[in-house]
């Protein structure tokens, strides 16, 4: 399950998608919009994506994690468009036989996604706008 959407994320349905298989553990990362940004108090976060390329690359990232950590399944759902502080921007989840593999794998997926997936974020603050950097 790898998708991009402009609608709010439904974390429960993403977890439900992974459960009911042969996993004993599901680890979930939820990335949300911070109210305090680098340019000031965040009014909005704009998330932009080169979606066709991201949909080519993310399955490789997920497959890599599945191979390395013996996952049963994994999911990445990223929101795009204009988000308010407190809203969820991304959900990454991994299910495995045991918790350790699931925790490690979900961190790996998020790290690789942040490194490779063509997705960009811009904070819109009263004081100005700032594109995200890699820090």
């Amino acid at each position: 399950m790898i998708t991009f959407q402009t609608e709010p994320l439904d974390v429960a349905s993403i977890i439900a998608h992974l459960k009911g298989r042969e996993a004993g553990a599901t680890a979930v990362f939820v990335g949300s919009v911070r109210p305090a940004g680098k340019a000031g108090k965040v009014e909005f976060l704009e998330v932009e994506c080169y979606e066709p390329m991201a949909l080519d690359e993310l399955p490789h990232i997920v497959d890599e994690a599945k191979g390395e950590h013996g996952l049963v399944d994994a999911a990445v759902v990223h929101r795009t468009g204009r988000l308010r502080p407190g809203e969820d921007a991304v959900v990454a989840a991994a299910s495995a036989a045991h918790r350790k593999e699931a925790f490690v794998a979900v961190e790996r997926i998020v790290d690789r996604m942040r490194e490779l997936a063509p997705i960009w974020k811009k904070e819109i603050c009263r004081e100005g706008e700032k594109w995200g950097d890699r820090s």
Partner: protein, 81 residues
């Protein structure tokens, strides 16, 4: 021949265009397309050290030859997740 060029995020805002067609000669490489874009939008030159490039949605180091209708994208470093 025409190659489609896409610009994203900061690059799109700097160049004030998200997609355009660039004319290059037969045998041109991805790096030639990028050079043409930078020549057309000099404001992007300052970004070129960190710039990533893709050809038809695959990362490119600039060496591939392009053909009519190919899609080259100029990508700032990713910050998603």
């Amino acid at each position: 021949m025409n190659v489609k060029v896409k610009l994203f995020a900061r690059y799109r805002e700097l160049a004030k265009v998200g997609e355009e067609s660039i004319v290059v000669t037969e045998g041109a490489r991805v790096s030639d397309v990028v050079a043409a874009v930078l020549s057309k939008h000099p404001v992007l030159n300052r970004q070129s050290d960190e710039m990533l490039v893709s050809l038809n949605r695959k990362r490119s180091r600039g060496e591939e030859r392009v053909k009519e209708g190919d899609e080259v994208a100029l990508l700032p470093p990713a910050t998603g997740g």
